[in-house]
């Protein structure tokens, strides 16, 4: 029983991890199991806290108390809500498509969980270490999996998240959910392009898809947020907010227009799953941002190589960075008014995608120039000039088509 699994099937998913480089024994499986459980429980816990945190912060900003009955500071409010939802009656509209209606919440929840698998949450990246820790005598990374395709898994999961929303809206057999889901789908598909292009800039700097490698490469405060010149980070954050359907991009559930959006017809535990998925996604997305742009768990470990330096301090750094972004999302929600739908589309297609593409090309120019030994400032200037010319043309064409559309639609609107 030394080998029940050869480095083939699952190894592909978990590939770069030294855990799976040799023979796979029982201990290895145990380690994997531990990591999965820890990640799952930790994620759930963080969601519970996140929900409480958000409600509390918003309540404070609106000059009210927020949850303060269940447990100290209302900490158990989320659990109480969850219990209530589970015990509510499970309603399904008559015109709903039963199978898809039941399937949709899972399609929302599962990708949210899976994405977190690639986030490294601890491990020392200083002093030449590359985040390897030893658990039960097995060397491994502090993340559930580090596949070859690495960050592409995040993209894949974020594109799958669309299914949950889309199918939920459609399966409800009702028009507001359908409208909400069609809106959400269009929005998420649109922003995925910007997301991917901003991601590409990071990958260009990191030279690897593996999250471990990306974090490792950022150790010593060579964080991508400035290594890529801030623009990809800004674009990524905006696109991520839109991808999460969080305010100010929460057109999916615009109450004034669509009642509750795609989950109007959902109740009970199925609604809880959507709810859970939304907050899971928020946490995961923050973790991804931290991983991609802020060096993940890397940070000063003060020379400690014992468990404090390997587990506690890195996790602390990770958690602090995560907290910053969670706060940011909460603040977005609390302060920003909702976009109009056409504004969302304009922002995504006409600003974010061209901007991220242009910035990516600029970074490529810099990279090529340094590889080929060209004059760097001159190359950057030339590239920037070209990109500005392109941007100018783009603006011109957008204006021209807008003018044309206005001219065409005027008589049509009259009739």
């Amino acid at each position: 029983m030394t080998s029940i699994l050869q480095t083939s099937a699952l190894a592909g998913i978990l590939a770069n991890d030294p855990l799976l480089s040799g023979e796979v024994g029982l201990t290895t499986l145990l380690v994997v199991l531990i990591k999965v459980v820890v990640a799952f429980v930790g994620l759930l816990l963080s969601v519970i806290l996140m929900v409480w945190f958000e409600r509390k912060v918003i309540a404070d900003m609106q000059n009210r108390f927020g949850p303060n009955r269940a447990g100290p500071f209302g900490l158990f409010q989320t659990i109480a809500d969850g219990m209530k939802l589970i015990f509510k009656e499970d309603l399904m509209p008559e015109r709903a498509d039963p199978f898809v209606f039941k399937l949709a919440p899972f399609l929302s929840l599962v990708p949210a969980f899976l994405t977190f698998a690639i986030v490294p949450i601890a491990g020392s990246f200083n002093d030449g270490l590359d985040g390897v820790v030893t658990i039960l005598g097995q060397q491994t990374f502090m993340q559930v999996a580090d596949p070859q395709i690495g960050i592409l898994l995040f993209l894949a999961m974020s594109s799958l998240a669309v299914y949950g929303i889309m199918l939920a809206g459609w399966a409800s057999g009702s028009k507001y959910p359908l409208l909400g889901s069609v809106r959400a789908t269009a929005q998420m598909v649109s922003y995925e392009a910007a997301l991917g292009l901003a991601l590409a800039s990071v990958l260009l700097i990191a030279g690897s898809l593996s999250t471990n490698a990306i974090v490792n490469e950022q150790s010593g405060f060579r964080w991508n947020v400035w290594m890529t010149g801030l623009v990809p980070f800004v674009i990524f954050t905006i696109a991520a907010t839109a991808e999460l359907n969080r305010p100010p991009f929460d057109l999916v559930e615009a109450e004034q227009e669509l009642v509750g959006g795609f989950h109007t017809e959902y109740s009970s535990f199925r609604f809880a799953m959507f709810f859970l998925a939304e907050f899971l996604n928020t946490v995961t997305m923050s973790a991804i941002i931290v991983t991609l742009f802020f060096g993940g768990p890397s940070g000063p470990t003060f020379g400690l190589t014992n468990w404090v330096g390997v587990y506690i301090l890195p996790f602390l750094w990770f958690f602090l960075k995560l907290l910053v972004f969670l706060c940011m999302f909460v603040l977005f929600r609390a302060t920003l008014p909702r976009f109009r739908y056409d504004q969302v589309m304009d922002l995504g297609w006409k600003l974010l995608i061209p901007a991220s593409l242009g910035w990516f090309l600029l970074l490529v120019a810099v990279r090529v120039a340094s590889d080929q030994g060209w004059n760097l400032p001159a190359t950057v200037l030339a590239a920037a000039a070209g990109l500005l010319a392109g941007a100018f043309l783009l603006v011109l064409s957008i204006r021209a088509s807008a003018a044309k559309r206005a001219a065409l639609s005027l008589p049509g609107e009259g009739s």
Binding site: S8, A9, L10, G12, L155, L160, Y163, V182, T185
Partner: protein, 233 residues
């Protein structure tokens, strides 16, 4: 049972069930979901054979974009009603289709199983898969060296496709004002066509609406809006 075998059989079952679902389920949305199941199965099989990048692309592009597009169109056009399987309007299409399918399956199985477990063909000498190199790097190396021209061409193809889709989906312009045309040109032609059509209508009664053309109706531009509204109803 070896884990790989187990994975394969499970995935194969999902794939076959998914593809059967595409063909047999009546509701287009269910078809699309079945398709997604098959795509996932194929992605897993890709991983099992070391094609990690393709597996990721399979999920991102196929599941994440193409099938979403399908669903989008289904919902936009409101064609998400079940399709009747009772009879095929084309005479003999169904038995012929089944015969062809059986022939294809039988022949390919004959070909595959008769050669046993060996794959006939020359092992690569040019672009060998190097175990030490990640799959993505190897693929990228090939794509940007040997196949760089094809790669660039596909970018052109995508651009063309985008332009084509935009042109196709654009709203029709305002209806043609026949008064603008001088006599004896298109206006007369259209008028004659219209007259012929009216005559035919009178002759046949008005129940041939189905294969009639709505082409020169002036309110054609509103068709899309109607469709959308219908989809949302």
């Amino acid at each position: 049972m070896r884990v790989e075998m187990f994975t394969f059989l499970l995935t194969a079952a999902i794939c076959l069930a998914g593809s059967a679902g595409v063909v047999l389920l009546r509701n287009p949305v269910h078809n699309a979901l079945s398709l997604v199941a098959t795509l996932f199965g194929v992605a897993v099989l890709f991983i099992q054979q070391g094609a990690y990048f393709l597996a990721a692309i399979q999920v991102i592009v196929y599941a994440g974009a193409i099938v979403i597009l399908f669903l989008f169109v289904i919902m936009l056009l409101g064609v998400d009603r079940a399709e009747g399987f009772d009879r095929d309007p084309i005479l003999g299409q169904r038995p012929a289709a089944i015969a062809v399918a059986v022939a294809i399956l039988g022949l390919s199985l004959t070909a595959l199983l008769s050669v046993g477990s060996r794959v006939t063909g020359q092992a690569s000498t040019l672009a060998a898969i190097d175990g030490s190199e990640p799959n993505i790097n190897a693929l990228a190396k090939v794509l940007f060296t040997d196949y760089v021209f094809a790669f660039e061409i596909t970018s052109v193809l995508l651009t063309v496709a985008v332009v084509g889709a935009v042109v196709l989906s654009r709203k029709a312009g305002p209806a043609i004002d026949l008064g603008e045309f001088p006599e004896g040109t298109t206006a007369d032609l259209l008028e004659a066509r219209h007259a012929a059509k009216t005559q035919r209508h009178e002759a046949e009664g008005d129940d041939s609406q189905g294969d009639d053309l709505e082409g020169d109706d002036p309110d054609d531009g509103d068709a899309e809006d109607e469709t959308t509204q219908e989809a949302l109803r």
